[in-house]
């Protein structure tokens, strides 16, 4: 095996290993996010939503579907990927990965692909669940899938960074809980940012999650808070930034090798 060739068996081994972890804990991995999302639909869609007026002709129940999927996609991608790399660090089994003839980008690709696969599957399950609660049609299915995959990939990369950075279980939780969840809630999961006063609308534009939710919502309903090209552009910028940080991590051995 020369340095030029890729280590496909390793990518496959890591990917399947990570996916096996999902099937081992189906309740935690699949069922619990589905249940919590269903609760959102019952509370915000059916109970409260029935008393809210439609937004741009879309019922409130349907309006929140893209936001809810994004919310789960963000938190699950981060959780999946951060845990996948943090846990071997915690138990010490990471020695094997570090001593294997695996390029850093091969390892990242396998871990992130597995984490993203899980969250895309989850997003699709939530979408299917949503059809049970609200009438829904998807205007641009291709763009919907593209945003789903791009967001899952980007936040799995972000989760990977958190997993490498964290040196305790607390740190593993801090970023998702204190930064990502608030950003997702304030990023228009449950409302259109046009509903905000002008000052807060401007503040909100600094929230990267706004662009993800906006783009995703556009793929469903054909209208959005910000332009689709801007949404896509911002998503790709964040993706590139995560890849750059990970490249640096492996180049320096930051928190992986001493």
């Amino acid at each position: 095996m020369s340095a030029a060739t890729m280590n496909f068996p390793a990518i496959k081994a890591i990917y399947l290993f990570e996916m096996a972890r999902t099937w081992r804990t189906p309740l935690q991995s699949i069922l619990s996010p589905v249940i919590s999302t269903s609760l959102y639909f019952v509370v915000f869609g059916a109970a409260i939503g029935s008393r809210m007026q439609a937004i741009d002709g879309v019922s409130y129940g349907a309006f929140i579907v893209p936001g809810l999927i994004m919310l789960s996609l963000l938190t699950q991608s981060i959780a999946n990927a951060s845990f996948a790399i943090y846990f071997p660090k915690f138990t010490g089994t990471i020695f094997e990965l570090l001593s294997a003839p695996v390029a850093w980008w091969e390892a990242v690709f396998a871990y992130v692909a597995a984490a993203a696969t899980k969250s895309v599957m989850l997003g699709l399950i939530i979408l299917a669940t949503a059809f049970l609660f609200v009438p829904l049609k998807i205007e641009h299915p291709f763009w919907m899938l593209l945003f789903l995959v791009l967001t899952a990939t980007t936040f799995s990369l972000f989760g990977f960074i958190i997993g490498v950075w964290a040196d305790g279980f607390e740190k593993l939780q801090v970023v998702p809980l204190l930064i990502v969840t608030p950003l997702a809630f304030l990023g228009g999961s449950f409302y259109s940012i046009d509903m905000l006063p002008p000052f807060w609308r401007t503040v909100t534009l600094f929230n990267p999650v706004v662009y993800l939710i906006s783009g995703f919502r556009w793929s469903f309903f054909g209208f959005a808070d910000v332009g689709i090209v801007v949404s896509l552009g911002m998503t790709l910028v964040f993706l590139a930034a995560c890849i750059a940080v990970i490249a640096w991590i492996f180049k320096t051995g930051y928190r992986l090798k001493n």
Partner: protein, 308 residues
């Protein structure tokens, strides 16, 4: 023949400022069992970790089977298997899954027959469907060895393979290591048990405070070990060894009160009978005698003291 591992001028200073390795140069011969002996904290694990790619070296170079471990890491690492000191295993995986995973990780295509053979060799075949967390400590160590052998490495590092292992498993481990060596695998083991190095190794290296202070064939060390000294305490001190006894190669010590005779216990004749006869004829009388043997432990302790 080209050495299978060439370590040249390897140093490691950790971020804390601790210098774990000081310009280590070492060659491991193809097909040998090399024991790296040293007290805790001497740098054994750091040395292994650098060769295996887990720790970045500060300076120096390592070639594994002619491949630079950094520039050509794929070729280097695919030849190396590592059994770490700590029992770091997954918990929820089955034995079969974790060993198969290791094979894939090291770039080898699936080969259930090889994995089965490894598991059988390590008496793990019956446990193949057990989750690792249900296994005993000794079994977990076997699992780690199986993982390291899954990709058919040419070089196997065993970091303290028998630390905290019961006698039976230790014997099994030694048998396994010999079998591997017979199949052409080069083995480097670290230990702080001298008897382990004595039992297993072809060559022994001693490391202390980050420096290799001795590398020698075990046979050569054992030859030194095989020498005994007979010390005779004389009734009357001598100024010099008498001419009549010159052939025996004696030495005087303790201001002429003791005569020391060095002999080889493994030789056909020790020469003791002849010496005693000659002493009687020369009229030299002695009040006491004792014999002593330097052990590998003595050599080791002496080296460490000299290095302190």
């Amino acid at each position: 023949m080209q050495p299978i591992i060439q370590i040249s001028d390897l140093s490691k200073t950790y971020a804390s400022g601790f210098q774990a390795l000081k310009s280590v140069t070492l060659e491991i011969r193809r097909g040998e069992i090399f024991a790296l002996l040293g007290p805790n904290g001497a740098g054994k694990t750091t040395l292994i970790s650098i060769v295996c790619g887990i720790v970045n070296p500060s300076t120096g170079r390592v070639l594994a089977d002619g491949h630079d471990i950094i520039a050509d890491y794929r070729a280097a690492r695919s030849r190396i298997g590592l059994v770490p000191q700590e029992l770091t295993t997954d918990a929820f995986e089955t034995v079969w899954a974790t060993v198969s995973f290791s094979r894939g990780l090291f770039g080898k295509p699936k080969n259930p027959a090889h994995v089965e053979q490894v598991l059988r060799d390590l008496s793990l075949w019956d446990k193949r469907d057990n989750k690792i967390m249900t296994l005993s400590g000794g079994m977990k160590r076997r699992v780690l060895i199986a993982k390291a052998l899954a990709h058919e490495p040419q070089i196997l590092f065993l970091d303290e393979p028998t630390a905290g292992v019961d006698v039976e498993l230790r014997q099994d481990m030694w048998k396994l290591v010999r079998r591997l060596r017979d199949s052409g695998v080069t083995i480097i083991l670290t230990t702080h048990y001298i008897e382990e190095a004595e039992e297993m190794a072809d060559r022994i290296g001693v490391i202390s405070k980050g420096e290799i202070i001795l590398v020698e064939d075990k046979a050569e060390l054992m030859r030194k070990l095989g020498q005994k000294q007979l010390t005779l305490h004389l009734q009357a001190p001598l100024a010099a060894v008498p001419e009549a006894l010159a052939a025996h190669g004696l030495a005087l010590q303790a201001e002429g009160e003791e005569l020391v005779y060095t002999y080889d216990t493994k030789a056909e004749r020790t020469g003791i009978t002849a010496l005693l006869k000659d002493l009687g004829e020369a009229g030299i009388r002695f009040s006491d005698l004792r014999t002593s043997q330097s052990s590998l432990e003595d050599i080791f302790v002496g080296l460490l003291r000299a290095n302190a």
